[in-house]
Every structure is written in C-alpha cells, then in structure tokens.
C-alpha cells in the first residue's frame, strides 16, 4: 500500500442511545406496590381460574378486562427453569456469572423471570424454593425486587 498504513489509527468513541420506557397504568401500579409496600401484585381472571404475573390488562385466554382484579402474591415461590449468564457485556444487571430464573410465586399460575442468588451458580435447581429480597433504594423498575434467594424452609 503506497499510502502506508502508518496513517491509520483507532478513534475510541461512545454511542449514546437515549430511550424512554413507559410502564403503563397496569405496570405502574405493579411497580409502585413493589416500591412502596413491598407487595407483589398479580391479576386474576376468575373465569379462567388463572393468576398472572407480571400483571396484564386483559386475560390472555378470554380477553376479559382484568384492570381491577388485583391479587397480592406471596414473596415465595419455586424455580421452574433457569439459565446461567456467563458472558459479560455492558448494561447487565449483575457481573456474570449469575443465574436468571423463572420463578412461579405461590398463588401465581405464570412464572416471573428474575435474578436468583444462590451462592455458586451450580447450586441452582429446578424446584428450588425461593424468596424475594427487596431493594433498599427506590428503583422504579422490576429491580425493586433485588433478587430471589433460597427460602431456607
């Protein structure tokens, strides 16, 4: 190359992505109850006999309006599935390795995805009994629950 690669260099930069997420009326009620009362709310469809979390405005089966059918769920539940995150990239909620689990709370029919802290990641098991640990500081998002940990029942 006659020009010579000596002229080439690398510009270190950052790319900014501004975004705005609106939780909606239903999502806001859910997060405010987590933050202010440490209560985990789901919504219930009596007709289908199902309790959903995260809460939703309409039943996914019969499309009934569930806006006011709030029910409080237990902060305990069991692991129905999990994955171990082993790669690191910006904007993960924790430093890998960590466990993301599907947790079916007592009283709910659908699982909630959240972080599971069980010491070594190899300790995670399907069927494990777990309990929600709430954040010390207001977060205004799902990290109002900091993580789940073994319930030690």
């Amino acid at each position: 190359m006659s020009e010579g690669a000596d002229n080439a260099f690398v510009v270190e930069g950052r790319m900014a992505l501004p975004y705005q997420y609106f939780a909606g009326a239903t999502g806001s009620t859910f997060i405010v109850a987590l933050r202010d009362e440490h209560k985990i709310l789901g919504v219930r469809c009596e007709k289908c006999n199902k309790t959903f979390i995260p809460p939703r405005q309409t039943c996914e089966r019969c499309f009934a309006d569930l806006t006011d059918n709030w029910v409080e769920l237990e902060p305990t539940g069991k692991v129905t599935g999990f994955t171990v995150i082993r790669y690191a990239e910006p904007y993960q909620p924790k430093t890998p390795p960590y466990v993301l689990a599907l947790i079916q709370l007592d009283g709910a029919d659908t699982p909630l995805a959240h972080i599971l802290e069980c010491g070594d990641v190899d300790n995670a098991r399907v069927g494990m009994r777990v309990r929600a640990v709430f954040a010390d500081e207001p977060k205004d998002n799902i990290l109002e629950i900091r993580h789940f940990e073994p319930a030690g029942e």
Binding site: M15, A16, G24, I31
Partner: protein, 159 residues
Amino acid sequence: MREKDSDQELIVSRQVLSIPQRFATGPAMGRFLRELRDNKRIMANKCPKCGRHQLPPREVCAVCRVEATEWEELGPEGTVRDFDVVYYASPDPLTGDTRETPYVACWADLDGTQGAAPLWHLLDAPDLSQVRSGLRVRVVFAEERTGRIEDIQHFEIIE
C-alpha cells in the same frame, strides 16, 4: 379503555445508554483526521487520473477506480452552497445530548476544491437572517483535538 384514577403515579424510565465503540480510520481517513488534529489542516486527496479532490478522502477515486495518493490542503475558507436551519434537534448519537435550537448546519465548498463534495458542518450564525448560499465562511478548529470531525468546531462567517 376504562377511566383511570387521574392521580395515579405513572412510571416512566428515561435513560441514556452509552455504548463503547471503536472506529478504525484506515490510511486515508487516518491521514485526514491526523492532519485536523495535529496541524489544523483540511486535507483532501486527489485522483492522479481525473484530478478530482475527495473530501472526506477515500483510498480509491470513486470515478476512475485508481488509487488516490496525492494530498492537497483545502480551505480553510469556503463558500456556503446549501444550509439547514434546524428547529428540532434529534439527539447527538455520540453523546445523547440535544443541541440548542435553532442552529444552522451548512455544506460549504472549500477554496481550492476541484470536484470534492462540500464539507458539512455547523455554522455559527448569531443572526439567522444573515445565512444564505454564497456566504463566505471559515473553519474554526477546536482547542482540544482528538482526531475526529469535531476537531472542526464549526464554520464562522467572514465579515
């Protein structure tokens, strides 16, 4: 839709993600950015066959497909060909910040150019009604230069 309690607290999350990225200049852009940073010069490369300038430079003449190895300094003065007065600024992809509006961006043909695309940059125009095509402008370099196009701070109007 059901009518909701109007004093319900609604959760909105606003964030700016800032993602690290690396840009490899290659030889031609490397020379261009290096000259901005170290010598406050705007360098275009020139096609040995058709004599056309390329700004920003590229390795090969886009018309003749031959390697463009000669370099010449253009500007720093030039003539506005076209401009935009911007009243709604979208966020800067590098910072997430939004410029104060209104602002002016222009495309200026730098003095000495032969066939190069006009250089786009901000135009510092205290009086918007002054801005027109044909306006004479000069490049103002940033105090701190790091080898990016922002090493040119803006164009200023020559009185």
